[in-house]
């Protein structure tokens, strides 16, 4: 891992991985001890707070960089996925496994997308309406923006901005992933075929 990453990324990884057990341990402890309602004040908590903030920011930096940097992605994701390409046979095996994974993920994404945009409503009428006792409505609904993801609240003199998740709805995220999978495949395949 160390040789192909620049020094900042390398130390960022050491920080992220080295402190991960402490952070995860703290999160478990915080849930058990109801940390949200504790009075965690003092220098120790301040230092831990800054360490935690740095850890989260580094994690955000690395996951963002991983999307755009092939080097960092190859180093980290091959380790995370346990991909081995020590010789040509393992490269063939990795290629076959990647193809299976790609196609099955695409099928799964398509399944999730279709089921997340399909709506189904059944109405039961107390009285006959046009000689019918009920109606069934089936259709599709696709909303792009998740309005609960970014919250701006004003309570008295306190103004709060809260980020809860990506401000996109689940179907849109899934659709983006589908486009990304097919698009990135064609981009690389066409480039390789042209060479």
């Amino acid at each position: 891992m160390s040789s192909s990453l620049n020094r900042f990324d390398r130390y960022s990884f050491y920080y992220l991985v080295g402190l991960a057990p402490v952070i995860i341990g703290f999160m478990i402890w915080a849930v058990i001890k109801d940390f949200a309602n504790m009075n965690a004040a003092g220098l120790g908590w301040d230092i831990f707070g800054w360490v935690f903030i740095a850890w989260v920011l580094i994690m955000l930096y690395l996951v963002t960089k991983m999307v755009f940097s092939k080097t960092i992605r190859d180093v980290v994701m091959t380790k995370l996925a346990g991909m081995k390409e020590r010789d040509e046979r393992e490269s063939v095996v990795a290629g076959n496994a990647a193809k299976f994974s790609f196609l099955s993920t695409l099928a799964l994404l398509l399944f999730l997308f279709i089921f997340s945009v399909t709506t189904f409503t059944v109405n039961k009428h107390p009285k006959d309406l046009d000689n019918k006792k009920g109606t069934a409505v089936i259709g599709f609904a696709l909303n792009g923006i998740d309005e609960t993801a970014l919250v701006h609240e004003v309570k008295g003199e306190i103004e709060t901005f809260t980020y809860k998740s990506l401000p996109l709805t689940k179907p849109v995220i899934i659709l983006l992933l589908i486009f990304w999978q097919i698009g990135s495949y064609h981009l690389v395949a066409r480039r390789e075929l042209r060479e």
Binding site: R86, D87, E88, R89, E90, V92
Partner: protein
């Protein structure tokens, strides 16, 4: 799709040649730059090597590729 060619079955003499040289799979793997599992797969006929690897084996055993690998046509579809 309609013009089906008979499938080529490639067998090899690697097991015999390695036994003649009295070397282990690991030693052969180290010599040709692959893993021991790949040598095992080659010997069992579970994996056909690239031309480059076939040449590396040919150079190592000092034999022609045709003396190491044999091609047979399989007419069963």
């Amino acid at each position: 799709m309609g013009n089906l060619k008979p499938k080529l079955v490639i067998t090899n003499q690697l097991h015999v040649l390695r036994a003649e040289k009295k070397i282990t799979q690991q030693e052969l793997a180290d010599e040709i730059g692959v893993t021991r599992a790949t040598v095992n797969a080659l010997e069992k006929g579970n994996y056909n090597p690239s031309l480059e690897l076939a040449y590396r084996l040919s150079l190592y055993f000092k034999k022609n590729i045709q003396d190491i690998f044999h091609v047979e046509e399989n007419h069963e579809f």
